[in-house]
């Protein structure tokens, strides 16, 4: 079974704090993604990575950065957390160039609250 794990299920931080969200996958997937889910807005892509040390901006990268030093691990960083970054954060991974391109496996999510 594919497993994608996220470091925390719930997180509460203060405005201005630096926040790290960690994601690990055990399926040797090339691609990894970070999304946020907000009511009425669905899943929006923040950043994705198709290889170690490679990253590409998604639809809403502002206020975020990412790091991928190892194939299995993809980190999302909020340099200075703000209240509008309160959200559910979802990590996902997938194979590259597969017949089922686009089939992603998701972690359970991290509910981040910024006070």
């Amino acid at each position: 079974d594919v497993k994608v794990t996220q470091s925390s299920r719930y997180l509460v931080k203060r405005t201005g704090e630096k926040v790290f969200l960690e994601c690990v996958q055990d399926m040797d997937h090339e691609n990894m993604f970070w999304y946020r889910q907000d009511p009425g807005l669905g899943l929006r892509l923040i950043y994705f990575s198709y290889d170690v040390k490679m990253k590409e901006k998604g639809d809403i990268p502002e206020g975020y950065s990412v790091s991928r030093e190892k194939k299995e691990r993809f980190s999302l960083i909020l340099e200075s957390a703000s209240t509008n970054q309160t959200s559910m954060y979802l990590c996902a991974s997938s194979f590259a160039n597969s017949a089922n391109l686009g089939t992603q496996y998701f972690g359970p999510g991290t509910r981040l609250t910024v006070l």
């Binding site: 994705f48 198709y50 590409e56 979802l90 997938s94 686009g102 089939t103 496996y105 998701f106």
Partner: protein
């Protein structure tokens, strides 16, 4: 600009009846479409997909229909079961691109 739209935020259906979830897209370059299902406090899980070379794909109780000329796809669940109650996301991707664009989701409630 929302390229994948699910105009119904919620849907209620009686157990045993058909559930029809709809999705529209605007990007004519999309050629692969997926449906994901999400329970509360869990990540989305892949449900079913369809390539643009087909107009129908069936997997058990789930069937996805694609109408390319109308840029519309739908997910049919027959018969609906209480365990199908979840949020359903439509998603689409372009050939050669690794990323997927998701819709806003439809919350399905199947009433026993």
């Amino acid at each position: 600009d929302q390229q994948v739209k699910q105009n119904s935020p919620s849907l209620s259906v009686q157990e045993g009846r058909i559930s029809i979830l709809n999705c529209d897209y605007t990007n004519s370059m999309f050629d692969y479409f997926l449906w994901y299902k999400k329970y509360p406090a869990e990540g989305p899980t892949f449900l079913i997909s369809i390539s643009s070379i087909k107009d129908k794909n069936e997997d058990g109780r789930f069937t996805v229909f694609l109408n390319k000329s109308a840029k519309h796809l739908s997910l049919h669940i027959v018969p609906s079961q209480p365990g199908d109650s979840a949020v359903y996301f439509c998603a689409a991707s372009e050939e050669g691109y690794q990323k997927v664009t998701f819709g806003t989701g439809t919350k399905l409630q199947v009433i026993p």
